[in-house]
């Protein structure tokens, strides 16, 4: 990044002055080139495949307790949506809170993933019909042995469906609110420079933003409050979804670190998603001058920390279960780690922990652009396999056994995994659904970049004010203004 006093030009050649930034980013939003259309078409095909897969499954199996095993991979994809796109806005929130200067290029990208929150809600709706009730034998009494273990104690107010649905919807709305508050100044700038229905829509959407000092102060305060709220809601959603749709469906599985582990996977996969996104923005998106080495160098340290934490949480769970030799816990460990879903677990462990860890401990890798991007991609893949190994076995426990006190109650022999718990292989419709989910995330994100600038105009311009380079002793160093 450098200061220059030259003229601004439209197009890909950008001088980083405030004026130049605005012009360039507006151009990026309004200009639709061939590559973009190609990407849209490709992703659209994936989405259509996903819809086909969904319809086939819905028609063939329906939504009932008996059909639950068929929807295992669908539920895993919902978990995947939650940990990647659903958790992505946290990057903008967290690093704004800690006032890191290198967040500026990536904050709007992470906020844009809030648009995918709408997809989260839609995806969640069929799952509502698949969740078994708490009171399995319907006698109005919750007693051990007849009823599904759950953190809820009685319905309907304590019922999981009310809370899970409100939490997912609330998360989507909060994310959209953050996006709106953050993008308002940019909407006005865009509306002034564009024509057509988008400019008109943006003008209406900005709701009369004038840019007075009071408005800016209110914007900063709102972002802080909404951000804190989003973070807490996110942890809440992770807790509820992981507990109600995975943990409580496996009898006897009592694991207090399950929800924090799931939330942490969300933070880790979100970091990976954003690293991949800014990598693509820099290489294919034409944002090279905005995204220097700083975000990769610093964010990869965060990713390393989160990866280590992931390994640590996994180890806590494994060690506590393995050491105690409790038969129920041993069976669970065999189910989700070492026997039934061994393949998914190994893939999960490699991609979520071993590969990123071995990569990110090296300075050389962290101080590059491609290194953190690969580590980020690995983490995202690992998160997918983690969702598979958690949700698919949970959805495949037979309905009749849900009230069992321990998994051991329905084992064929003590210590052996029963025939019902053999791993469930995905079929072609599951594959379509997975492809559709991934395609939908990317498609919604790309469409979003053509409505709002994927690089935050006001934050970039603010950064230009605070970050200078000056000579110091014998070299040139960066000077960071810290107004707070």
């Amino acid at each position: 990044m450098h200061r220059a006093n030259g003229h601004t030009t439209v197009g890909e050649e950008v001088q980083l002055t405030p004026q130049g930034v605005t012009e360039h980013l507006s151009y990026k939003v309004f200009n639709i080139d061939k590559r973009f259309v190609l990407a849209l078409v490709g992703l659209g095909v994936l989405v259509i495949l996903g819809i086909i897969g969904f319809i086939v499954r819905a028609v063939d199996d329906g939504f009932s307790d008996a059909a639950r095993p068929q929807w295992g991979y669908y539920a895993a994809m919902f978990g995947f949506l939650l940990v990647t796109a659903g958790s992505a806005p946290v990057a903008a929130i967290a690093f704004r809170w800690t006032k890191n200067h290198w967040r500026r290029p990536l904050s709007r990208a992470s906020e844009l993933f809030a648009l995918v929150g709408i997809l989260n809600v839609l995806w969640f709706i069929p799952m509502i019909f698949l969740l078994p009730g708490i009171d399995l034998n319907g006698d109005g009494v919750l007693a051990v042995g007849e009823d599904r273990r759950t953190i809820w104690f009685e319905g309907p107010i304590g019922a999981p469906l009310w809370w899970d649905t409100s939490a997912v919807i609330g998360l989507a709305l909060c994310g959209l609110a953050i996006l709106w508050v953050s993008a308002r100044p940019d909407m006005v700038a865009l509306a002034a420079r564009g024509t057509g229905w988008r400019a008109r829509f943006l003008s209406w959407l900005s709701m009369g933003w004038r840019g007075t000092e009071q408005e800016w102060r209110l914007q900063q305060a709102s972002l802080a409050v909404l951000g804190a709220f989003y973070f807490m809601l996110l942890v809440f959603v992770h807790t509820l979804i992981s507990l109600d749709f995975a943990l409580s469906l496996v009898p006897g599985w009592k694991d207090s670190i399950f929800a924090p582990h799931h939330a942490l996977t969300g933070l880790q996969a979100a970091s990976g998603t954003i690293l991949v996104t800014i990598f693509l923005m820099r290489t294919c998106g034409g944002f090279r001058q905005y995204i220097g080495l700083d975000p990769f160098w610093s964010f990869s340290k965060v990713l390393l920390g989160l990866t280590l934490l992931w390994g640590y949480f996994w180890f806590s769970e494994f060690m506590t279960f393995w050491y105690g030799r409790d038969p129920t816990e041993q069976t669970v460990v065999k189910l989700v780690m070492f026997e039934s879903y061994r393949v998914a677990f190994l893939l999960n462990f490699f991609f979520s922990f071993l590969i990123p860890f071995v990569m990110l401990i090296w300075n050389v890798v962290r101080k590059s652009v491609i290194g953190p991007a690969i580590a980020g991609a690995s983490v995202v893949i690992g998160a997918f396999f983690m969702m598979v190994r958690l949700y698919v076995p949970a959805f495949n426990i037979p309905q009749a056994d849900l009230g069992a006190h321990t998994v051991a109650d329905f084992e064929a022999e003590a210590g052996q995994i029963a025939v019902q718990l053999l791993p469930v292989k995905p079929d072609v419709w599951d594959g379509f659904i997975v492809a559709g989910g991934v395609g939908a995330i990317a498609l919604i994100f790309l469409l979003g970049t053509k409505l709002l600038p994927v690089m935050s105009m006001w934050e970039t311009k603010e950064g230009l004010l605070y970050i200078l380079f000056r000579p110091f002793i014998k070299g040139r160093y960066m000077v960071l203004g810290k107004p707070e």
Binding site: T150, D255, L308, V479
Partner: protein
Amino acid sequence: MQEGKPLTDREINRGLLNILFENPLWYWGLVGLLAVVVLGAMSAAGYMINHGLGVTGLNRPVMWGFFITNFVFWIGISHAGVMLSAILRLSKAEWRRPATRAAEVLTVFSLMTAMLMPLIHTGRAWRIFYWVFPYDWARGIYPNIRSALVWDPSAVFTYLTSSILFVYIALLPDLAVIRDRSTGLRRQIYSILCLGWKGNPRQWKLQVIAGILLSALILPVFVSVHSIVSFDFSMAVSVKSWHSTIFPPYFVIGAVHSGVAAVVIVMALMRFLFGWHDYIRPEHFDALGRLLIVVATGWFFFFVMEFIFGLYGLEGDEIGMKDFLTAKPPWNWWFITFVGTTYFIPVSMWLFKGVRRNPWLMLVACVSVNIGMWLERFLIIVPGLAQKQTFNFVWGTYAPSPVEVVIIIGTFALVSMLMLLFAKVFPLIPLYDVKEGEILRSEIQIGRKKVPAVIRDE
């Protein structure tokens, strides 16, 4: 970020080395008083070892009580050192500068004190060599590495060794300054201690690299120590409320919470006792307060998770245990006190900038945190043991005896006394860190406003 007047090197040297070269009466009075308390605790421990553990309040089923609570508490306090020193050093936070050495030294002394607890609470403390050292002189039997109680000393001593190294390496430049300003025997001692520090660029470079390496290496140790201490509890399959997978991160974040609060207490006291108002400024307490809000809220999340999962299985005896904790006096009063003092009172105080910038109010809030965290450990250990399993014929309770209380108070006196003695021979605020901060201060002009800034070397 930088308030207060700019300071010259000479001012810094004189200001921070004041206690080393002067002999105020209050200092020796305070040390003497603490020494008396420590001696009292030592005699109580001697009495206990002589007469047996019957002098404590321990019984069957509550075989672990105040001593183990205190052990976990001091290990918790020790986590502040690494949190502030290593993590803030690696993330280049400016406001760490006055806090790092005090935090690291607090770590070293609280670790030493913590390890005293398991030693004296054993039935036959004079036989402790079986436990820590490989003792294979006659029968070929080594310590049982399957036992969490053997992992404990391994982890704690690793942490202790690395913390001592950390403190020492960071001390070297300051020892050289003291050497240069002293004469006679003192000069000789300090010149040996500072290992011939000359302050040339090569030595500085090595020192910085060593600091960064140690910071990075000590971080996994820090996480593992309190996790392994938590394994003492979570590996126990027979105590229902202890066998919970969330214990390791729950304990670690609780340790960070109480540790950072302890560092705030130490900083407020240092500022008052040694007159270091120019070095420990309201902005430091402000930053620590904001960090504490995040840490406290994280702790609260883990606490709620742990509590909920006690009830998750809808098992009668676990519900009975939680009922005991929240409904039966006096445990319910302890429980409410604990939740209030650990989270609600301090966090509601820290939400206000005025409170965060006031050292005395921060002291009050952080003392509250530590009272609460001590209670937290107690309420994990004792109620869990008192109502272990479904055989309620053997359910019991626990009340501490005077011997235990005296020994616990003695440990607090011991750590305070050791910190004060350290302050007399080594500066508790790193001189070169403060000087570096002065050099890196800068300002930039934005429009009509001058904004304080800091220089980054990337």
